[in-house]
């Protein structure tokens, strides 16, 4: 079956996000009152699979994330 998968990979709590800091500063310079800005990695794709949750988990573990520094979450829904 075919699934629409979305994956978010975030830096672990406590690790700083240099890119997020730069973007936050730029937005503040434009006058926006922004805080705690983070730039997680985000992936969208279609997956042909019998077991999409398990495979999404595996993809994160094997490639999309580095378990030392990242946490991840994903959502899976059937492609209509």
């Amino acid at each position: 079956m075919k699934w629409k998968v979305k994956v978010i990979v975030r830096l672990k709590e406590g690790l700083n996000d240099p890119e997020g800091r730069v973007i936050q500063n730029a937005l503040r310079n434009l006058g926006f009152k922004v805080e705690n800005l983070r730039v997680p990695k985000y992936f969208e794709f279609e997956l042909e699979s019998e077991n999409p949750e398990k495979e999404a988990e595996e993809m994160c573990r094997k490639l999309l994330a580095n378990p030392l520094i990242h946490t991840w979450e994903y959502s899976v829904e059937p492609v209509s």
């Binding site: 690790l15 240099p18 890119e19 990695k41 094997k62 490639l63 580095n66 030392l68």
Partner: protein
């Protein structure tokens, strides 16, 4: 003569000068496309560059290619495995070295000459340096900010320092933990370095401090 493989992934770009430096250090070297086999080599070098354009995370995709299984065998057999810059990133992503290389503290690519203090002269790559020696090499990376959850377990080989060898905050170009610029595995036969020794292997280019690293490695491989 001992012979080293310089592995070329799609996007690797320091392979020619690395090959040149190894030859200058007295060994044979051959650029090896990542889909070819790794036979009859005495050691492996993963050169710098942008394998897979650094997409996803620097080194992440190269680390999952089949040839890395072979590199792991070299590491297990105690043969020298050297990762330079992107090669270092590949080695951490492949689990051959501990920790991770994160985006620089100021998230930008930087290319600059730095001073390094040699912290460990017991590895095959650093046996020709004096303990505490201060050397010069260029860095050129966007993701060289070394991170490990337990730094006490890391075998530190080079640290960013000032000219006198002081490990200071100002001398740290990328935010690396403990100013770490290069580390080795426990056995010492796998080395990852962010600074580029191959770019410091010719006095016309500013220094030959990096050539010593290749000489050490070649000498050690000779046995």
């Amino acid at each position: 003569m001992v012979k080293f493989a310089v592995i070329v992934f799609p996007g690797t770009n320091c392979d020619f000068e690395t090959e040149r430096a190894i030859r200058k250090a007295g060994a044979e070297a051959e650029r090896v496309w990542y889909k070819t086999s790794l036979k009859d080599f005495d050691g492996v070098v993963l050169p710098g560059g942008f394998s897979y354009a650094d997409y996803l995370r620097a080194g992440a995709i190269a680390a999952r290619q089949e040839i890395m299984e072979k590199v792991k065998e070299f590491a297990r057999d105690g043969k020298p495995v050297l990762g330079i810059c992107n090669g270092f990133q590949v080695l951490t992503e492949a689990g051959l070295l501990p920790g991770a290389l994160r985006p620089n503290r100021v998230p930008r690519f930087i290319c600059r000459w730095v001073h390094l203090k040699v912290a460990d002269t017991e590895t095959p790559f650093t046996q020709f340096y004096e303990p505490g020696e201060v050397i010069r090499m260029p860095i050129a990376h966007a993701e060289g900010n070394y991170y490990a959850d337990d730094p006490s377990k890391v075998r530190i080989v080079f640290q960013y320092s000032d000219e006198e060898g002081n490990i200071t905050e100002e001398a740290n170009p990328n935010g690396s933990l403990l100013n770490i610029a290069a580390i080795a595995n426990e056995k010492g036969n796998v080395l990852g370095t962010m600074p580029h020794p191959e770019r410091a292997s010719d006095h016309f280019l500013g220094s030959e401090d990096g050539l010593k690293l290749f000489r050490s490695m070649v000498e050690w491989a000779r046995g």
